[in-house]
C-alpha cells in the first residue's frame, strides 16, 4: 500500500477511464495508458490467482472432513463465494473504498464504472494512488473479502447449518470485512492515524476470518465425539490427506497473487520481491511446523506440514511488502512453530478441525506484529505507511501500532460476529441436530452423499450398477470377441486359471 506513489499517473487514468472512445480514436498508444494497462493486467492476474484460493480452502476443508460431509464443502464454497460476490459489489466495496472517512466509505454502491466511469473514479480515492482500472481494484478487493469469508468456515465444519452460514456470509461480505478493510487498507483510522502496517492482510483478511470462526465456534461447540467422557480430545481424522495437500498447494499458488498483487501494480518489479519473500516464509513455515511436530510426537503429521505452509504464508502477509529477504525465513519459521503449538493447545478445549484459529488467527497476529519488528526503513518509506521496526529503529513505536491494530480488529469483529451468530442461534439455529450430524451434512442438507458409492449399498445402485468383475463373460480384457470365445470354451482346466 503506497499512497503517494506515481501520483502523476492519476490524471492519465482518469482521462483513460473517462474517455474510452477518445482512447480508441487516438491513433498512437500512449505510454501512460500502457502503464495503466500493464498494472491492470498484473493485478487481474493476481486477483484470478486469489480467486482460485477458494478451491484451496474448499479442499483443505473437504480433506479434513469425514467422507459423509465431503460434498457439503463444495456447496459451501460455491454459495459463500457467490453471496460475497454480489454483496461486496453492491455494498461492501463502497464501504471499504468509496471515500476517505475514518470509519467507512459512503459512495460507489452497486458500482458500475462502465456506465459512468468518471463518476466511479471520483468515488474511489485509491485510484488516485494506483494507476489501475477501477474494475480491477474492485475485483481484487472482492477476492480478498472472499478469502476472509472462506476462513471462517473451516472451523465450523461437519455441524453448521446451511441456512446459518449464508446469513452470516451476507453480513460479513457487505459490512464486517469492508469496514475493517477500510480501516487498514482504505484510508481509515488505523492506517491514517496510527500508521498500522498490513501489506496484504495478515490482520485484515486472516485474523478477521479467524475471529469470525472463533465467535462461531464458541456458540457452536465441538463435533459429537470430539471430547471423550473424560473431556480429553479424541482424534477425528479427516478423510483425505491428498485433498488436504491439493488445498494447501492451491493456497500456496494463490498467495503469489495475494501478496505480490497487493502492490496494486507492476511498478519497478516490486511484486517479484514480494513474491520471493512470500515463498521463503512459506517454506520456512513448513520446516518449522515439521520440526516442531516431530519433536513433540515423533511423526511428521501431514496436516501439520500443510498448516505450517499456511501459517508461514499468513505470517508473511502483513510484512511481505515491508521486510527484506533475510527476515522472511525467520518470520515463516516462527509462524510454523506457532501453528503447531497453537493447534495442540487449542485442540484441548476447542474443536477446530482445520486449525484455522492457529493458522490464520495466531499466525495472523504474529505476522502483523512482525512488521513492528522487521519493517525496514527503506520499505516503510516506499509504502509511506508507519515506521521501521524495532530491529532497525530500536523503538517499540511501530510494534505498539501493530498491537493496537490487532486488538481493535479482534475486538470489533469478535463482538459483531458473536452477536450475529448469537441471534442466528436463537432464531433459526446454528447447528444441525445430533442425528443429522451423525448422518452427515451431505445426505441431510444436500439430499445425497458426496461419495454415493461409498455409502449406498451396491445393489441399491440399480441393476446396471453391478460393477466391474461381476459379469461372467468378460474373461479377457476389453475385447468382447475374446470374451465371447472364453464363454464357450470354459472347461475343467479353464475354470480357474492360475
Amino acid at each position: 500500500m503506497r499512497p503517494s506513489f506515481l501520483r502523476a499517473l492519476v490524471l492519465a487514468v482518469l482521462a483513460l477511464v473517462a474517455l474510452p472512445a477518445v482512447a480508441v480514436a487516438q491513433d498512437k498508444p500512449s505510454l501512460t495508458q500502457t502503464v495503466v494497462e500493464l498494472n491492470t493486467a498484473w493485478v487481474m492476474v493476481a486477483a484470478i490467482l486469489v480467486m482460485f484460493m477458494q478451491a484451496g480452502f474448499a479442499f483443505l476443508e473437504i480433506g479434513f472432513s469425514r467422507a459423509k460431509n465431503a460434498g457439503a464443502g463444495v456447496a459451501k464454497i460455491l454459495t459463500n463465494f457467490s453471496i460475497a460476490a454480489i454483496a461486496y459489489w453492491a455494498v461492501g466495496f463502497a464501504l471499504a473504498f468509496g471515500g476517505s472517512g475514518l470509519i467507512a466509505g459512503t459512495e460507489g454502491f452497486f458500482l458500475d464504472v462502465s456506465s459512468d466511469p468518471t463518476k466511479a473514479a471520483s468515488q474511489i480515492p485509491l485510484l488516485e494512488t494506483y494507476t489501475i482500472a477501477p474494475s480491477a481494484l474492485l475485483f481484487f478487493q472482492f477476492v480478498f473479502c472472499a478469502v476472509s469469508l472462506a476462513i471462517v468456515w473451516g472451523t465450523t465444519l461437519e455441524r453448521i447449518k446451511y441456512s446459518a452460514y449464508i446469513i452470516y456470509a451476507i453480513i460479513f461480505a457487505a459490512v464486517i470485512y469492508p469496514v475493517l478493510s477500510h480501516w487498514i487498507f482504505g484510508g481509515g483510522w488505523l492506517q491514517v492515524n496510527f500508521g498500522m502496517q498490513d501489506f496484504a492482510g495478515s490482520t485484515v483478511v486472516h485474523l478477521i476470518g479467524a475471529t469470525g470462526a472463533l465467535a462461531a465456534l464458541l456458540l457452536l461447540g465441538p463435533r459429537r465425539g470430539k471430547f471423550g467422557p473424560d473431556g480429553r480430545p479424541r482424534a477425528i481424522p479427516g478423510h483425505s490427506m491428498p485433498l488436504v495437500g491439493l488445498g494447501v498447494l492451491i493456497l500456496w499458488l494463490g498467495w503469489f497473487g495475494f501478496n505480490p498483487g497487493s502492490t496494486l501494480g507492476a511498478a519497478d518489479g516490486r511484486f517479484a520481491e514480494v513474491a520471493l519473500v512470500t515463498n521463503l516464509a512459506a517454506a520456512a513455515g513448513v520446516i518449522g511446523a515439521v520440526l516442531t511436530i516431530y519433536a513433540l510426537q515423533r511423526t511428521i503429521d501431514i496436516g501439520m506440514a500443510g498448516n505450517g505452509a499456511i501459517a508461514g504464508l499468513v505470517g508473511i502477509t502483513a510484512p511481505s511488502g515491508y521486510v527484506e529477504f533475510w527476515a522472511a525465513p525467520i518470520i515463516g519459521l516462527v509462524a510454523g512453530v506457532i501453528v503447531v503449538v497453537g493447534v495442540l493447545a487449542i485442540d484441548k478445549k476447542l474443536d477446530d478441525p482445520v486449525g484455522a484459529l492457529s493458522a490464520h488467527g495466531l499466525a495472523g497476529i504474529w505476522g502483523t506484529l512482525a512488521c513492528g519488528l522487521f519493517t525496514s526503513p527503506r520499505l516503510a518509506e516506499l509504502n509511506a505507511v508507519g515506521d521501521p521496526g524495532l530491529f532497525y529503529s530500536g523503538s517499540f513505536g511501530q510494534l505498539g501500532a501493530q498491537a493496537l491494530g490487532v486488538a481493535a480488529a479482534f475486538l470489533v469483529v469478535f463482538s459483531v460476529s458473536f452477536a450475529v451468530f448469537y441471534v442466528i442461534k436463537k432464531t433459526i439455529g446454528l447447528r444441525v441436530t445430533a442425528e443429522q450430524e451423525d448422518a452427515g451434512l451431505d445426505i441431510v442438507e444436500h439430499g445425497m452423499y458426496g461419495y454415493p458409492e461409498q455409502f449406498i449399498p451396491l445393489p441399491e445402485m440399480g441393476a446396471a450398477s453391478s460393477g466391474p468383475l461381476a459379469r461372467p463373460s468378460l474373461g479377457a480384457t476389453g475385447s468382447p470377441a475374446t470374451a465371447a470365445t472364453s464363454r464357450s470354451t470354459t472347461s475343467r482346466t479353464g475354470e480357474v486359471p492360475a
Partner: protein, 122 residues
Amino acid sequence: MKLIMAYIRPEAFEPIREDLLAAGFPSLSIDEVKGSGRQRGMTERYRGSQLTINLRPKLKLECVVESEQVSLVTETILRHARTGDVGDGKIFVLPVEQAIRVRTGESGQEVLQAHESEEVPA
C-alpha cells in the same frame, strides 16, 4: 430355525429382495464378498504388466427363517439368481439354535421376520 446363506451375483439381489418382502420376509442382511469358484478369472493390464484376478465380487445374503420356510426362501432366490452361466453361486443352509430380537430382548422363532399380528412400537 435355519440360516440361509446364499452367494449370488450382485445384480440378482434387487428382485429377490422384492419377492421376499412380498412373501413376508423383510428381514435379511447382505454383505459384499469375493468368491472363487468355477468362474474364470480376469486378466488386467497396467503399464504393460499383468494382474490376474481370480476372485469375483459376489453378494452374500443371510436370512434366518423358521425351518419350514427354508424352501420358500431358497426357491425365491433360485428364481432370480439363476442365469445359467457359471458363477451363479451357491445356497447353504445352517442350523440356528437361538434367535433374539435386540430391541425387545425376546427370543424364539417369532422374532425372525415381521408378523402381521405383532405390535410395532416405533
